[in-house]
């Protein structure tokens, strides 16, 4: 009896030891970056230490203004502008489209739904060049239009997620609302939209992450520093040809991760749910 207990305890201890060790390795690069953002640049090289000897907060001030004419105030504003508008468009449009696919028995429905899945399989590289040329001819280069407007068409990934969700809601709810005199649109806005809130939140979070991290889109369409997003600014800042101020680069890198981590801490549950429903029910 006691022997068994000891064995069990030892097993538990070994498990936690391995898992914690691995967790340390996993988090190390991120912690290293955060720690380096407080160090003097000279202290970054040839060291594994995670604890800065001095806390140099001026790295942050220096990084914020590394570019003489445009500061990170602009870059963060641009990133938020792009992210928030795109997310709003993507999520609202996706929910409308999802309702259409899930609830309205129109002719050609499964054909178009199939088309939507096809577009998920086509790599962005195919449409990249023609899209660039079209937006170039429209005079949209160096504006946020080519980045934001396509989002208002909805995203297949979100549409799929929401269709899955709507299908779990009983039809009786729609029917009774219709008897009460709701038309389809008000059934959607008053009954279904509130019920698919978890899917909406999941989509919002993922959209936020993808737009916030987006690099290729801004790289293609934004060439003027005053339009740069945080991603583009970081890349300009860390240009291997010119950059030397590593602690300031790490300071701005750390700041760029803050919104992502904050959202993760608040909405963890929805992220896991989104991953699982879309990953499992492929």
């Amino acid at each position: 009896m006691t022997n068994r207990k000891i064995k069990h305890l030892l097993g538990q201890a070994a498990f936690h030891l391995v898992v914690i060790l691995l967790a340390y390795v996993m988090l190390y690069p991120i912690l290293w970056m955060v720690s380096n953002s407080f160090k003097e640049t000279a202290d970054i090289f040839n060291t594994t230490s995670l604890i800065p000897e001095t806390f140099r907060f001026d790295n942050y001030a220096r990084g914020w203004r590394f570019n003489k004419s445009v500061t990170f105030t602009t870059f963060f504003y641009n990133s938020f502008y792009y992210t928030v508008l795109s997310t709003l468009g993507a999520v609202l449009a996706s929910s409308l489209v999802a309702y259409g696919f899930a609830r309205v028995p129109f002719r050609g429905r499964s054909f178009w739904y199939g088309c939507m899945f096809m577009t998920m399989m086509i790599p962005y590289q195919v449409v990249m060049v023609p899209q660039f040329i079209i937006f170039h001819k429209l005079g949209w280069i160096n504006s946020f239009k080519p980045l934001i407007i396509p989002q208002f068409a909805g995203l297949p990934f979100f549409i799929f997620l929401m269709v899955q969700f709507i299908r779990q809601i009983p039809y009786e709810l729609d029917d009774s609302a219709k008897i009460d005199g709701c038309n389809r649109f008000s059934v959607f806005t008053r009954i279904l939209f509130p019920l698919i809130k978890p899917a909406v939140i999941t989509s919002t979070i993922f959209s936020f992450y993808w737009r916030w991290d987006d690099f290729l889109g801004p790289l293609l369409f934004l060439n003027k520093p005053r339009l740069f997003t945080v991603s583009l600014a970081l890349r300009m800042f860390s240009d291997p040809m010119t950059s030397t101020d590593w602690s300031a680069i790490f300071a701005m890198g750390t700041l760029s991760l803050v919104p992502v981590l904050v959202i993760f801490l608040i909405f963890q549950k929805y992220i896991v749910q989104g991953l699982v429903t879309t990953g499992l029910k492929g």
């Binding site: 690069p29 290293w32 449009a93 996706s94 023609p130 040809m241 701005m252």
Partner: protein
């Protein structure tokens, strides 16, 4: 009378259905179908964006056959995808197995393991990664601590540079891990109980219950991640400073395609490359699907 109203209702459904999906439908034509058709046309032309596209038949594809950089980028991409995706999935699977038990601390561990997936796509991490593997970076400092003194720049050596990208990909196994974990938890407990009664050991339960039950999930992840692996761009772009160096050892396909289009303004060639990519991805997906019946277990087949 009744028939008329049914027809009218069907018409109403069509109208409201298309109204609801109209944002996507418009976007589908404007941002997918039309660009796809243009891309197909450009791939048979010489087009430098300033002038008009000039039809040149299969010239782009012929050039590709003798373009060393094209073959190099294919080689790099295949190596990257076929090493990083399986390794990440295997890693994710075993950590998920490890976590598939009832300890309360698991939730915290899960969250920690997911953090790299969360931030892995950011430029901040790519920039940090570069610094980590430089000659005076943290990796060499860590190696020095255990007695291996080296001043190799893992980023600068053409033999190791691609590995830094592969490690970056494997490091982000957290999202697959969460998906596998959810899959493992959905396996009915009764299966294991029944097997125990029949005297099956842990290994037999693993190979006869766990593995068959989880293969559909692994399969789906394999397909999606291979596609993503073939189109990797941002990390290679940032870690190599946009060049694919050293000695083109990190010149992934999407990076070379981007350079062709936006550095050399060779839109025709770049479009042709995009279609070769579609072909490769289609072929890969086809192969995975074709072979799937031999190793993916679907419940519906079990005598129902």
């Amino acid at each position: 009378m009744k028939q008329l109203s049914a027809r009218k209702r069907a018409w109403m459904d069509d109208f409201s259905g298309y109204a609801f999906i109209s944002p996507w439908l418009i976007g589908f034509f404007a941002f997918s179908i039309i660009p796809i058709l243009f891309s197909l046309y450009y791939s048979f032309t010489k087009y430098d964006i300033l002038g008009d596209p000039v039809f040149n038949g299969l010239e782009n594809f012929r050039t590709m056959a003798t373009d060393e950089l094209f073959w190099q980028s294919l080689k790099v991409t295949f190596f990257y995808a076929f090493v990083s995706v399986p390794l990440r999935l295997i890693f994710a699977f075993f950590v998920a197995m490890l976590f598939n038990r009832g300890t309360r601390a698991i939730r915290v561990y899960q969250a920690i393991y997911y953090v790299p997936s969360l931030v892995g796509g950011s430029i901040a991490v790519a920039v940090m990664w570069r610094r980590l593997f430089m000659a005076d970076g943290a990796l060499n400092a860590a190696l020095a601590k255990i007695g291996i003194v080296t001043d190799v720049s893992w980023i600068g050596d053409p033999n190791t540079a691609i590995w830094t990208l592969i490690i970056l990909a494997i490091w982000q196994f957290g999202s697959s891990m969460l998906i596998f974990l959810a899959g493992l938890r959905q396996i009915p407990k009764e299966l294991y109980e029944a097997a125990s009664i029949d005297g099956a050991g842990a290994l037999r339960k693993f190979s006869h219950i766990t593995v068959p039950q989880i293969t559909p999930v692994i399969f789906f992840n394999l397909v999606m991640q291979l596609i993503n692996g073939f189109t990797v761009f941002t990390q290679a772009f940032v870690v190599s400073g946009g060049s694919g160096d050293p000695l083109n050892s990190t010149l992934v396909y999407a990076l070379y395609l981007y350079q062709r289009a936006f550095k050399y303004y060779d839109m025709g060639y770049s479009s042709a490359m995009a279609w070769v990519l579609v072909l490769i991805i289609g072929l890969m997906t086809g192969i995975v699907f074709k072979t799937s019946s031999s190793w993916v277990f679907y419940e519906a087949k079990e005598g129902k």
